[in-house]
Symmetry: C2
Amino acid sequence: MNRQNLSPEALELQPILKHPEQGLVVADRVLKDLYPEFFSCLNFPLLLLDAGEDAKTIASVQILYDFFLANKLRRSEIVHVFGGGTICDTAAFAASSYKRGCRLHLYPSTLLAMVDAAIGGKTGVNYSGFKNQIGTFYPAERIVIHPDFLKTLARDEIRQGIAEMLKLAILFPEIPIPDSCEDLPHAEDILRHALYKMSICQIDPYDGSERMLLNFGHSFGHALETKSEYQIRHGDAVVMGMIMACDLSLQMGFISRERHAELRNILSGYEFPASVLAYVKNLDMDELLVIMEQDKKSGSAMRLILPVGKEIKLVELSE
Amino acid sequence: MNRQNLSPEALELQPILKHPEQGLVVADRVLKDLYPEFFSCLNFPLLLLDAGEDAKTIASVQILYDFFLANKLRRSEIVHVFGGGTICDTAAFAASSYKRGCRLHLYPSTLLAMVDAAIGGKTGVNYSGFKNQIGTFYPAERIVIHPDFLKTLARDEIRQGIAEMLKLAILFPEIPIPDSCEDLPHAEDILRHALYKMSICQIDPYDGSERMLLNFGHSFGHALETKSEYQIRHGDAVVMGMIMACDLSLQMGFISRERHAELRNILSGYEFPASVLAYVKNLDMDELLVIMEQDKKSGSAMRLILPVGKEIKLVELSE
């Protein structure tokens, strides 16, 4: 059996990156240029991929299959993946469907991937204009958080990760609100967020109950990403999605004006780029709703995670 | 959570085929022509596919994804699949990877699919010249065995199913040897075989121990299928593979001449087409071994299911 693992033990904070076990390596092309010594020390077959939503395709998955086959990868062997969310998602889907699943170790290289994308076993690629339409549930056997990778991360990228940390903090009072939208969080805070997400995924791996809450801001967010053809980045889209969810809740009478102001106040600490604000200002909400209809988390009614009273919960809106 | 099911309760013998629950229908083109009334009564979106190993491709999987998306299939909805092993394997892989897995009901239409291919959750397509290289473990929520479908099955097709029933009978003494290689087995015998396979898969879903025995004849068999570019059919290849395994065991000194004669005697009841016998006569065994090397069941050593003494078990041959 393939050693999939959704327990907190799968997570490891590794201040100095160790030489991994024998296997194949898949890495973000840019990461390899930033850490040439580490990657040249690895004496394993290496495939370099481009990051980004545009590269999260079936075609990239086939490039991975070809790489696995060319190197005669066996089910019992490990694929080590170094990259951000899009590379982790794509390579994990390929690993999950190669020979019905081989071993998988993830080394998320962005803050967003460390606290969110690499945690919880969701793999996937975009298809036919929709985000993550094709994928599997396939938790990695091991996830290595190496904070040094963040030193070379652009501020724009850090903000995408802060967005998911902010979401977790709004959902769960025991998680502190991030101090800043641009500064790197401490390694311990990153690990705490990752562990917290992992514990929720362990309770509810298939998005049946608790895990669904993690989609707060994501229905509007995914639609924004799709509609803007990924010009709006995931974290920015999720925070904008949470704002839209708060506004909808107020409009539907689910929350008081005070609660709405309280939530909007927390979210106001997030600094959107001007381009995102301009895009949303000119947005046709009806077009966004059409995309949300097709979103994978939808059941027969429109299901949204919305603030209701003092809570945030799943609400079914009849069509 | 998607209702995957590896328990015997997932199996249903349905003498008169009932109208299924709301969903999408994927069917073998030929089956629809043979049972036009049943399929025209189904008021669901219908996708017709060609059967055969040649059609078990990533391209077919994308045709399925497009059909699912065009009909706005949701994760909570059912894909009903009517067809033989190749269509069940392909459509089940598509269902398992669409929105990280939707609901799946299988209606195997061939004897081989009823007793083997549709049972146990292995999905897959061929890739880059190798059989089932891409796939997932994704047991159907429900498998409906409708024996009427067998009435229109060619003798050649019946034999492919008998081959897997013969394999099960050699592995497990409580399963009777099929009477004939050409006559249709009774519905109860079909169900008994299917239930027996299901019980083994339930104990060992991921091929770690008991289930591996079901690969008896399959390492040689898959290589024969691949080498012959699927001119040799799966059942014929598996029986020929069992013969090769018996011969190898005798050669390696794993079994006595008496045990070898006993096994060959049971297998001699199987009537190969002349073309298969001619193909095997001219075969270069070394080329077969190269293909077996790449076979997904291989670990670091060559692992084969072979007769050893009175048993049949997993043997690791060092390289």
